[in-house]
């Protein structure tokens, strides 16, 4: 077995029957038969097709928009532009792991004064067919005044750079600048005294790094169907990581009561953070309200790349110093992240994560949030962290080699552990970084022989994970089965892990519990699927709801037996008389209690509404072997091992899946993926042919080791696992290339032309 689970020290009172096993997922058959309904699979009678007109310019003032010809085209039922949306106050609210500002959001969904990137929405139409809608878009006349644009982050920070927002004054700087710039915000985290720390250092490595924006590249494009009735009641079906968040955003953008919008989440074909925001949804609602007909909108792949959020590209300077015996004395980072057209890059979490794997006395991190004429970034798997930690982990590796130390030993000597104060403030509780490093070092991969032109690299990674507002309801049916209602869309098997925890608590078989993702009007507010929070937070809510149901089941049995309810205990799916009454009555199964619920007080429903706290951070360490083709510059990953702390793997197969998928997304980020802009400011590779994500023949099997250092804040010890796996790959591969070639790459992606050029330069220089 290539995939290991290293069980931690959690010693539950009883043997777990479901948690930790690998049952089939409850939604599985629908997904292998084509029955599952994803965003674009939903239709309604009388439905119109909506399409968006998008800017061909990276930066231009909109002088006028004339929709009159489109409006009279037969079959066109509604047209919307900036005039159909109210302007909004500037206010930041949380969405996933990012903040959103409604003043910006209303401008991102529909350009107002200016278009700010190639692909920016300018108008939308709803028509009786796709063909009519396309013709209508061509009839809309937009008078643009093209403006100079800026794509690169450093150029955007120049004093004479074209300004995207003429009123943007950099926040976080004292005193406030008197002139606007493209720098939205400066953030800083510091502990100790870095100058004193560097003075103690005997070896210092300082390098600059660049990364390019990369897209989440979920296979399913954004899609929705909106239906607004004549009295303003709205139904919305959409592919999203958080339908309650969509409801909130749409209500604000359209000035509607939250209660008037019911959002149903479709199955979701990948998100990775990119489906935590709205693009089409408010447009479809506005068009539907105008046309009084249902409207379906689906993005093309070109639109997904041009107009939905990638993550930031960045320019970074990292400096780390250490003593000869391998103790880091100081660490410093400057991080300049592209936000795209509106502020809100993930530079803040990037800055917080940069040095999180290390126990350091002297740290200083400064981050800059910089707007450029690109699509507004959206969250992407551990937003911000893969970028800063890539740069830091490359420097850590170089430092270890300069010191003549094994890179894992060097990390172990400086690793964050329980009680370490992170540079961004808090002290860590029990964490598993040291365990992942030890497991990586002990793994056969780490000492396996390498072939010619091969190299091996390692890197570690950290992500916070989050909890948050979460509801769950568990209906006990009259035949002893149960329905679990949750509010977090299932992107990767969470229905299975949540039902497993419910089965564990109730003591009934897994296949007796049927999960549904409830719509926004059927279950209380539930924050989105993001922050690796679902198995943790929806898991806690599910456990609470199950325990609430169990309390009621015990009460009912007590009533039947005419004993106090605290004299009944729940064991393996049975109510049993306990204490002085032990053995006085035959235990009653859940089904037996449920069958007579009508006579003992009515339906039995467990509820939970929580704000889940205590999401345990997750650390991982990756080992990778690469092989370089010196003639073409192509880098092939030949072996890969992910070691990560899961706290407790509820369904180990889906935990492994997160590790493997994150690693391969990281391989794409490291070796191939990038947004390529022409001189004209237009995206040149808005498709999967030219924006090349890894395919099956690009990668090997991805071995996994699940370390379990239980999270004490979760009943089963769960930590989030979804995001950390994308943090280490870029540095691990860069470090492997340094091992193979003796060349330190400092730019992503390390695509064949760049690798070939570096090999040529090294040969010429050497």
């Amino acid at each position: 077995m290539p995939n290991d689970v290293k069980t931690g020290s959690l010693a539950p009172d009883k043997k777990l029957k479901w948690v930790g096993t690998r049952p089939l997922r409850p939604d599985g058959v629908d997904k292998v038969t084509g029955r599952a309904k994803f965003g674009a699979d939903f239709s309604l009678p009388g439905m119109l097709i909506g399409k968006v007109l998008r800017s061909p310019h990276p930066h231009a003032r909109i002088k006028s928009i004339d929709t009159s010809k489109a409006e009279v085209l037969p079959g066109v039922k509604a047209v919307v532009t900036r005039d159909d949306f109210h302007d909004m106050e500037s206010e930041f609210v949380p969405a996933g792991e990012m903040l959103v500002n409604y003043r910006d959001m209303v401008r991102n969904v529909m350009a107002r004064e200016k278009v700010l990137y190639d692909g920016h929405a300018v108008a939308a139409v709803a028509a009786t067919s796709n063909a009519v809608a396309k013709r209508a878009l061509k009839l809309i006349e937009v008078d643009y005044e093209p403006l100079p644009h800026v794509i690169d982050v450093l150029e955007a920070m120049e004093p004479d750079a074209p300004l995207l927002h003429e009123d943007m004054i950099t926040a976080g700087v004292e005193p406030a600048p008197d002139k606007p710039s493209n720098v939205a915000k400066v953030v800083e985290f510091a502990i100790g005294d870095v100058e004193a720390g560097f003075a103690q250092a005997e070896v210092i490595v300082e390098r600059t790094f660049q990364t390019k924006p990369v897209h989440q590249a979920y296979i399913e494009p954004h899609a929705c169907v909106a239906s607004v009735s004549e009295d303003g009641q709205a139904e919305l079906w959409c592919t999203t990581q958080g339908h309650y968040v969509v409801r909130g955003h749409c209500a604000r953008l359209l000035g509607m009561d939250v209660s008037k919008i019911r959002v149903t989440a479709s199955e979701i074909g990948g998100g990775f953070g990119g489906k935590t925001v709205v693009y089409l949804e408010p447009l479809a609602l506005a068009l539907s309200a105008k046309a009084c007909r249902p409207v379906k909108m689906v993005m093309s792949r070109d639109e997904v790349f041009r107009a939905s959020g990638p993550t930031s590209g960045a320019h970074m300077r990292i400096k780390v110093g250490a003593t000869k015996d391998g103790r880091i004395t100081a660490a410093e980072a400057d991080l300049k992240y592209q936000a795209g057209a509106f502020q809100g890059s993930p530079v803040q979490p990037g800055a917080m994560c940069a040095f999180a794997p290390y126990d350091l006395e002297n740290v200083k991190v400064v981050g800059y949030d910089v707007v450029t004429n690109r699509p507004k970034v959206a969250a992407y798997r551990a937003p911000g962290a893969p970028i800063s930690e890539y740069a830091v982990e490359c420097v850590i590796d170089e430092l270890a080699r300069k010191l003549g130390l094994d890179p894992i030993d060097f990390r172990l000597a400086n690793a964050a552990k329980e009680g370490t104060r992170a540079a961004y403030g808090p002290k860590f509780g029990p964490i598993g970084l040291v365990e992942t490093l030890q497991e990586a070092k002990a793994h056969p991969h780490y000492t396996a022989p390498l072939g010619p032109d091969q190299g091996r690299g390692v890197a570690s990674g950290f992500w916070f994970n989050i909890g948050g507002e979460t509801c769950a309801a568990l209906n006990i049916n009259e035949d002893g089965t149960a329905a679990l209602m949750i509010g977090t869309p299932d992107i990767g098997g969470s229905r299975a892990s949540l039902c497993m925890m419910a089965a564990e608590e109730l003591g009934i078989d897994l296949d007796r519990i049927r999960p549904i993702i409830a719509d926004t009007s059927s279950l209380g507010y539930t924050f989105l699927t993001g922050g690796s929070r679902v198995t943790f937070a929806s898991g806690m809510a599910t456990i609470d709801a199950a325990q609430d149901a169990v309390r009621q089941l015990c009460e009912r049995a007590a009533k039947i037996w005419e004993i106090p309810s605290d004299a009944v205990e729940w064991e393996d799916g049975y109510a049993k008389p306990a204490g002085a009454n032990a053995g006085d009555f035959e235990p009653m199964s859940l089904a037996e209690v449920a069958k007579v619920a009508g006579k003992t007080g009515g339906p039995i429903v467990g509820h939970a509404q929580i704000n889940a706290q205590g999401a345990g951070p997750s650390f991982g360490t990756h080992i990778v072997d690469v092989e370089v083709d010196r003639e073409t510059g192509r880098v092939t990953v030949v072996r890969y091992t992910v070691v990560q702390d899961a706290g407790k793997a509820v369904h180990p197969a889906y935990v492994e899946g997160q590790y493997q998928g994150g690693a391969v997304q990281g391989i794409g980020w490291a070796l191939n993926e990038e947004y390529i802009y022409g001189e004209d400011g237009r995206l040149e590779n808005p498709g999967f042919l030219d924006y090349r994500i890894p395919v099956a023949s690009d990668v090997p099997m991805i071995d996994t080791v699940i370390v379990e250092v239980p999270n004490p804040r979760h009943p089963y010890g769960v930590r989030g696992v979804g995001e950390t796996p994308i943090v280490p790959p870029m540095a691990a591969i860069t470090n492997a290339l340094a091992d193979a070639l003796g060349i330190r790459f400092t730019e992503l992606p390390m695509s064949p032309p760049k690798v070939l050029e570096a090999i040529g330069e090294a040969a010429a220089g050497g």
Partner: protein
């Protein structure tokens, strides 16, 4: 322009439909016939999410015109299970947890079945190259490749087990 009338066979059933001259087989399947198991991930033949069999050949439905279908036979994911019995590939995908979001799964299953129909004993490398036209962003392909190899073994009558 008048729509084109087409008589064809979809999943063994005689089917007639009207389509625009520029509508693809994928548009016809999804929008006219409501067979939404085939997905559109790119519309340019790069992602494989719309993989179907056309006269026994694996194609991207987004690259075939609906008007070309007269007298031909199309098989989609909706016809892969035999009644209530899943195809071994479908079962192995579930046993191996070879899907996360599941949107690429129909196309990958259709493509994998086409492989096993041609080559009942593929190597790991052959599976990887055959499926190179089917993008999956969630799994990293590991469990997909294992599921295909396991299904192939079972279909050959070998004793196998899911991990």
């Amino acid at each position: 322009m008048a729509k084109v009338h087409v008589a064809t066979t979809i999943n063994g059933d005689a089917v007639e439909f009207l389509c625009e001259a520029d509508e693809t087989l994928l548009d016809v399947l999804r929008d006219e016939l409501h067979l939404t198991g085939s997905k559109e991930g790119c519309g340019s033949g790069d992602c494989g999410a719309c993989s179907v069999m056309l006269d026994g050949r694996l194609v991207c439905a987004c690259l075939v015109l609906g008007a070309e279908l007269g007298g031909r036979a199309v098989e989609t994911i909706e016809n892969m299970a035999d009644g209530e019995v899943l195809h071994p590939l479908q079962r192995k995908f579930l046993e191996h947890a070879a899907l996360q979001c599941g949107v690429c799964t129909p196309g990958i299953l259709v493509a994998a079945k086409a492989l096993l129909d041609k080559n009942p004993e593929p190597s790991e490398t052959e599976v990887r190259y055959w499926l190179a036209g089917n993008l999956c962003r969630c799994t990293g392909y590991d469990k997909i490749v294992r599921a295909v190899l396991d299904a192939a073994g079972e279909m050959r009558g070998e004793l196998t087990h899911a991990e």
